[in-house]
């Protein structure tokens, strides 16, 4: 084998250094971290249990009603009913609910983490210049790479799947929150300042409301990325629709993979449209034309 790059340093030593450093962390903090994340696991399991506890004939109309409230139109609720009914018909109700629970929990945490980080980032150019490359790395690093340390820390299961999903799905929300606040009409900010707003009043009266369209786009992207992560996350024991796809691959079972894939597509469509419609309703003042 041709070896055309010289071994300037002994990479094996470096790698074993990193590995043993991380092993050290795992052995000394692994247990503590697992305990610390127990409430998160309980939340996730709680959501999943609730979704499975609600009978399908209640849940489907409930989601249809939510979509009607968001769109004020009959098309979306009809599509929701058809898609959810088909999911059940394909025998995917339980894995679908597990996937929804994982996605909702991940999105929830992504919002709780992402929006404040985005806000801080918009206030400081220095923080922005540090965060942007970090976010680039987070988004371009192959997702499987995240799985390794998380699995080592927590063992296979839902917690590492959830954490990997959050890490993977939070960058667009941070980016768009930052961007949204920075792009708020400077004259409005100046006006609010000229009328004596404190920084907090400025944030809540002007910056966040005016950045809402962009932040909603971030939340939408985050849900979509979380959903795309579930297939991968199933490899480390998250279960759900991703597990069905995985089994389809392992058993070369075309129909199983296809149906589970369809289920994911249905969920994606429902969540995408719901978040978008809700985002539009929040900003109904934008629709009012110039009379």
């Amino acid at each position: 084998m041709a070896d055309n790059f010289p071994d300037l340093i002994d990479m094996r030593a470096v790698r074993s250094g990193i590995d043993s450093w991380f092993n050290g962390i795992v052995s000394s903090y692994g247990q503590a971290l697992e305990t610390a994340f127990l409430p998160v696991l309980r939340l996730l399991n709680g959501i999943e249990a609730f979704l499975l506890w609600v009978p399908w004939y209640v849940l489907i109309p409930a989601v249809a009603l939510i979509s009607f409230a968001a769109t004020r139109d009959w098309k979306m609720p009809v599509a929701v009913i058809v898609m959810l009914f088909l999911t059940g018909l394909l025998g995917l109700w339980e894995p679908a609910m597990a996937t929804v629970a994982l996605m909702l929990t991940a999105t929830l945490f992504a919002i709780v983490i992402g929006i404040p980080v985005g806000i801080f980032m918009s206030f400081s150019n220095r923080l922005q210049s540090i965060m942007l490359p970090v976010l680039d790395v987070m988004q371009t690093m192959p997702i499987f790479v995240y799985l390794i340390p998380f699995v080592m820390l927590f063992g296979p299961g839902k917690i590492p799947a959830l954490l990997a999903t959050i890490v993977f799905s939070v960058p667009p929300l941070i980016r768009l929150t930052n961007l949204g606040i920075r792009e708020v009409n400077p004259e409005v900010i100046e006006a609010v300042t000229a009328f004596g707003a404190t920084p907090m009043q400025k944030l809540f009266a002007a910056q966040l409301p005016l950045a809402t369209p962009t932040i909603m786009a971030g939340i939408n992207q985050t849900t979509m990325m979380a959903l795309s992560m579930v297939v991968i996350a199933s490899m480390i024991g998250a279960g759900g629709l991703g597990y069905e796809v995985l089994q389809g691959i392992q058993r070369l079972d075309v129909s199983r993979g296809l149906f589970a894939g369809l289920g994911i597509v249905f969920l994606a469509i429902i969540f995408d449209r719901l978040v978008q419609a809700y985002g539009k309703r929040v900003q109904k003042h934008l629709e009012a034309g110039n009379t």
């Binding site: 004259e187 409005v188 100046e190 609010v192 009043q201 009012a288």
Partner: protein, 409 residues
């Protein structure tokens, strides 16, 4: 250095304020006192001159207009008054409060209660109703919701937007949006109103209406208004005093008429070139001296040399108090040269006098001047003759080429 402008009861004092934008403003500061131009300072230090040793005093209860082309520093100047921009050097006093040295809370207090502002593109919150937009300053000050809305409603009625309070800004026309901006500024009851090109984004008819509304409001409220504009007609219409900025320096400060009649430099001259002078300058500026005689001593021998010597176009007959009683046009003098003295004593041969006060806007006196066969007399409060405006002198004054005689009195 530069133009100084002092008034008797200044509400706002701007003392040698300079502003430099760029990497090292302090280093470039000494250059401002030299003859270096804005471009040279930029080249030497990389700093952009925003304001250069500007000193101004703004009287309470007046409308003070700051004019200049874009980049002249006028918007920078107005933002120093509520410290949206910090000066590089100099002091700004509002009611003897040094704005530059205010701590954060005191500065916020100034913005909440003493200085409010109207913006060129309105700066309204699109997600809030007209009512909530107007109540904004009050809410920031911690006024309770219901009281803030009540006060806001009063201002909405004042600017004539009653019935629109539940609308969102986007549903309103530009003129209406700016009235929301005005109501918002009035709602905090601040004595000082900063208006940054407030009407520049509106179309001409609406702008004209808004100017009228502002003048009407001002006659009720008697605020101290600092108004930025690049439109000289607007400045002349609403401004009690006008300051003209050029490349960050003050070129001239004075009343509209002073600026029109005595432009301080070429920059100001170019500004005033195209203005409708008839609407600004007064009769006094168009008046010319006249030859006078009393009715007792009137005679052909007396009149002819008067006309010849003074180059006057007219002979006014005045009584003992100096009040004009009749006028003899020059054409008549030439035509009837050598006539009997009794000819001039006959009231049929002497025209009646039309008179105006020297403060009358020339445009308002034009129809009198045009209709009258003889020049129109300019008289003081006691009715004494000061001079006269002929068709020719009125036209010359409006063309901006009136002779040496604007200070006729």
């Amino acid at each position: 250095m530069g133009v100084q402008a002092q008034v008797t009861n200044p509400k706002i004092k701007i003392e040698r304020v300079s502003k430099l934008f760029g990497p090292d403003p302090q280093a470039a500061l000494p250059l401002l006192d030299t003859a270096a131009t804005k471009a040279e300072i930029m080249e030497k230090t990389g700093n952009v001159v925003g304001l250069r040793n500007v000193s101004l005093e703004i009287a309470g209860g007046s409308i003070f207009v700051v004019m200049g082309l874009s980049g002249s520093g006028k918007s920078t100047l107005i933002r120093h008054i509520n410290r949206l921009i910090e000066p590089t050097a100099g002091r700004i006093l509002v009611d003897d409060t040094d704005v530059v040295s205010l701590a954060e809370n005191a500065l916020r207090d100034l913005r909440l209660h003493r200085v409010s502002m109207v913006f060129q593109n309105f700066g309204l919150l699109p997600n809030k109703s007209v009512l909530d937009n107007v109540a904004l300053g009050l809410r920031f000050a911690g006024t309770g919701n219901s009281q803030a809305r009540e006060l806001a409603m009063q201002q909405i009625e004042r600017v004539g937007l009653k019935g629109f309070e539940k609308q969102y800004p986007r549903q309103l026309s530009g003129g209406m949006q700016q009235r929301v901006g005005l109501a918002r500024a009035l709602a905090t009851n601040a004595e000082i109103l900063l208006m940054d090109e407030a009407f520049s984004a509106l179309d001409p008819l609406i702008r004209h209406d808004m100017q009228a509304q502002l003048l009407e409001l001002q006659s009720d409220l008697n605020k101290t208004i600092v108004f930025i504009t690049h439109d000289l007609d607007e400045a002349l219409r609403i401004g009690d005093r006008i300051a003209i900025l050029n490349d960050g320096s003050l070129s001239q400060c004075g009343t509209g008429e002073e600026i029109l009649l005595h432009p301080a430099d070429d920059y100001v001259k170019r500004f005033v070139q195209n203005v409708d002078r008839g609407r600004i300058i007064t009769v006094a500026a168009a008046a010319r001296p006249v030859a006078t005689t009393t009715s007792a001593e009137i005679s052909s021998d007396k009149i002819a040399p008067l006309v010849a010597a003074e180059g006057a176009q007219t002979v006014f007959i005045v009584n003992d108090a100096g009040q004009p009683t009749g006028v003899i046009p020059i054409t008549s003098v030439e035509h009837h040269a050598g006539a009997e003295d009794s000819f001039w004593h006959d009231p049929k041969n002497v025209l009646p006098v039309k008179s105006v006060s020297p403060d009358t806007i020339l445009a308002d006196a034009l129809s009198d001047v045009a209709e009258s066969e003889a020049p129109v007399a300019v008289v003081d409060e006691q009715g004494r003759l000061l001079g006269a405006v002929s068709r020719q002198s009125a036209l010359l004054a409006m063309a901006g080429t009136n002779g040496p005689s604007e200070d006729m009195v």
